[in-house]
């Protein structure tokens, strides 16, 4: 038994999805630090460049959006939700740059489920004390407590599996269409190029990927805000 289960910590033995996920995270971190430094070194009178204006607009739009849900707690959760959204948008469209889509590996998808579950539970426990949390979970009647507990587990699980199913199906359809044409894709006839460049990648990588990223962000926002404001002292 002992020699069957052995844990290795070598980075090279991880699957491509996980490695590319780490790579995307590193790129986003460096990008965020560089943009943040440029933003910090600006004076109020300076005119920001076009890219910086875009980032500022994105952040302020999302802040306004999150304020509607979270009220006075918005500053705690806005950075978390924004980074999840940015990561998912880049991760779901990663196959455009020749990377493996991280979320088409079920381990990464279930990590997102676990992340959503822990975020919701710890935030709820931190903002309402445990006693209040138990009261919330056993509302409207204590008989519904088991059902509510199942709901607390199944919604994050469904969120992760939704990401996994969508991206895996996109990847499988992509692989099927590519294998249909063999290796002659780039130098093949125009119809193949049209089918893949105009239909396959925009639809399955950009459109579905961005939609799923936005859906995960929306659902996390909604469920987190529900868990937090459930019992806001009125």
């Amino acid at each position: 038994m002992g020699d069957i289960i052995h844990v290795t910590w070598r980075f090279t033995e991880l699957s491509a999805n996980v490695k590319h996920s780490v790579f995307i995270i590193l790129v986003l971190m460096v990008g965020a630090i560089l943009i943040g430094r440029r933003f910090d070194s600006m004076n109020a009178a300076d005119k920001p460049s076009k890219g910086l204006v875009l980032v500022i607009m994105l952040v302020s739009t999302l802040n306004n959006f999150i304020k509607e849900f979270y009220g006075r707690h918005w500053k705690t959760f806005a950075p978390l939700l924004l980074s999840i959204l940015v990561y998912l948008v880049f991760a779901n469209t990663a196959s455009l740059w020749g990377l493996a889509t991280p979320l088409s590996n079920i381990n990464v998808a279930l990590a997102f489920s676990l992340f959503a579950f822990l975020t919701i539970q710890f935030s709820a426990l931190w903002i309402h004390k445990p006693l209040q949390r138990i009261k919330n979970l056993s509302s409207p009647t204590p008989f519904l407590l088991p059902l509510n507990l199942v709901g607390e587990i199944s919604t994050p699980l469904a969120m992760g599996l939704r990401l996994f199913g969508n991206l895996l199906s996109g990847a499988v359809i992509g692989v099927l269409i590519y294998s249909l044409f063999g290796g002659s894709l780039i130098f093949g006839n125009l119809a193949n190029v049209f089918l893949t460049v105009v239909l396959l990648h925009p639809v399955f990588n950009i459109f579905f990927g961005a939609i799923q990223a936005f859906v995960y962000f929306m659902l996390l926002t909604i469920f987190l805000s529900m868990a937090i404001e459930d019992s806001e002292p009125a």
């Binding site: 939704r162 199913g165 895996l168 199906s169 499988v172 799923q212 859906v215």
Partner: protein, 84 residues
């Protein structure tokens, strides 16, 4: 004379089961079409709210898709985990 071995029979039944599992794709199809139709009605009634309607529709459709994706995952499990 044996025509089909037990392992081959299991593999064939698993593939058949994967096909049957994807019948669940009917549900999300109907649900998403219904949501899109209602969204079109809503845009017709209130064209100025089309942005919000579109976002609500997409989120609702993604939720409706969940059951179909469960079926898809089951189908993948049936295809890829039962090998002869």
């Amino acid at each position: 004379m044996e025509l089909v071995t037990g392992a081959e029979f299991i593999r064939a039944m698993a593939l058949l089961g994967a096909g049957i599992a994807m019948v669940a794709g009917i549900g999300p199809g109907i649900g998403q079409g219904f949501a899109a139709g209602k969204a079109a009605e809503a845009v017709g009634r209130q064209p100025e709210a089309s942005g919000k309607i579109t976002i609500t529709m997409l989120v609702g459709q993604a939720m409706a898709e969940t059951t179909g994706l469960y079926a898809l995952i089951i189908a993948f499990i049936l295809i890829f985990t039962t090998t002869v």
